[in-house]
Structures are given as C-alpha cells and as structure tokens.
Symmetry: C2
C-alpha cells in the first residue's frame, strides 16, 4: 500500500478511541474494523505507545487505551510519533563532487525542511477529538 496507510490507521483508531476513552480495544477488534491485520495494528500502535499516546495491557481484559485526554492529542502528535517524514530528501551519502549538485541539494533540502515544519504546524491545530464525520 501507500506511505499513507500507517498514518490513516493510527488516526482512524485514535479517533474512535477519543469517542469512548475508557473502553479497552484489542488489536483484533481494531484490525477487524480497519480491514487489516492484528500484527499490523500492533506495529503501528506500538509507535504511538512509545510516544506516550496509548497504553497497552496483556491478558484477559487487555488491549489498547488512550494514555492521555483526547483533547490533548493533535494530528501532529500522531504524525511525529510515526516519524514518517513525508517530505523526504535523501541525505546525500556521496561527497558532492560537483558544487552545483551540492548547492542544489542544500537549496532543496532547505525548502523541504521548511515545508515539513509548516505541515507539522498545521497538523498541530487539530486534535483528534475535533475531527468528526458530519
């Protein structure tokens, strides 16, 4: 699939949890609803747990739950937790060998970094609670 799908899965799941913050959901439930696989769910939500957005418990009544108030979780938090870095400029491993190439890379990287900043800025304006189907 696309680069997008991890972010989609994460947001989708969090948004559902935001509507019912105390309910514990298993990976299997989530996978079922999202049309994917429990292992994939654990992979993605594991990132969110590392970032402090979710908690997980093993055992009978185990599963996933929000770790914080949904009003305090922005789209940017999710984006950053996954560190997708949509705006990728390859880190130019080779020594430039051509000053033009070097200058171009610097220029483009600069713009990309700026743009990624503003993307994050923009995502930070919305919390997961605020997105709702009409």
């Amino acid at each position: 699939m696309k680069r997008n799908s991890r972010l989609s899965l994460a947001l989708h799941t969090l948004r559902h949890m935001a509507g019912n913050p105390d309910r514990v959901q298993t990976s299997a439930d989530i996978a079922d609803h999202a049309g994917t696989n429990p292992v994939v769910v654990r992979r993605v939500l594991g990132r969110l747990r590392e970032a402090g957005l979710l908690t997980s418990e093993k055992g009978h009544a185990g599963g996933w739950k929000l770790a914080r108030a949904p009003e305090s979780i922005t789209l940017a938090d999710v984006y950053l937790a996954l560190d997708e870095s949509l705006i990728a400029t390859a880190p130019q491993e080779q020594p430039p060998a051509c000053s033009i190439e070097h200058a171009l890379h610097r220029r483009v990287s600069g713009v990309m970094k700026e743009i990624e900043e503003s993307l994050i800025e923009r995502l930070r304006e919305t919390t997961i609670s605020e997105v709702r189907g009409e």
Copy 2:
C-alpha cells in the same frame, strides 16, 4: 533509490545547461556526469521535454538543449514537470464504510494539498540560474 533522485537529476542537469545554454549535450554525457545511465537520463529529461523545458534532437549533432531562457525556468516548473507529488495522500479507492475514516481522510488530504501548494509556491521563487555553488 529514493523518491528524490529524479528531481535531483533533473535539477542538476538543468542547472548545468543554464550555465551554457547553447551547448547540446547527449544523454551519455549527462549520465556520465551524474553517475547514472543514459536511459534513465532520457526517461527523466523526456518529462521535461513534454513540459516544454527542453528540446531533444536525434542524429549526429543531436542531444538535449534548453527550450527556454534559463531565467524563466523555476524549480517549481521542474517539480511539476515530473509530477512527483511528494505530498501523497492515497485517493481512498474503497467506499468509506466508516464516517470517521472519511472525515479524517478529508481533513488530512486538505492539509496535504495546502502544503503541496505552498511547496510549489516556495519553489517558484527560485530559477535554475539562481542556484550556484559558492
């Protein structure tokens, strides 16, 4: 390699041409300088030709040349010619089935589109002539 490399190759080549606008260069020369393959060069530069930035000629004195004044070619022109669409949101082929998923997709797509606009805006500020190694 990375998503980035087509854009890098295109910009690198155009920048060199901008410094010597009347010289005709073969794909082999360009590939050699960029450390890649003539076929790859033709693939990438072919896009630029379709966009009206370059011309190509077959035969003995054939090769590639700028189609326009280098001062009139911006980084955005190159980016758009390649239609890389760095900011990809998958076009959600499936019917949503879940209104939350739908709303999220709309929200995220909206932000992404905005961001891509501002990237292009930003790239439009610089012409290929203006980038130079110090």
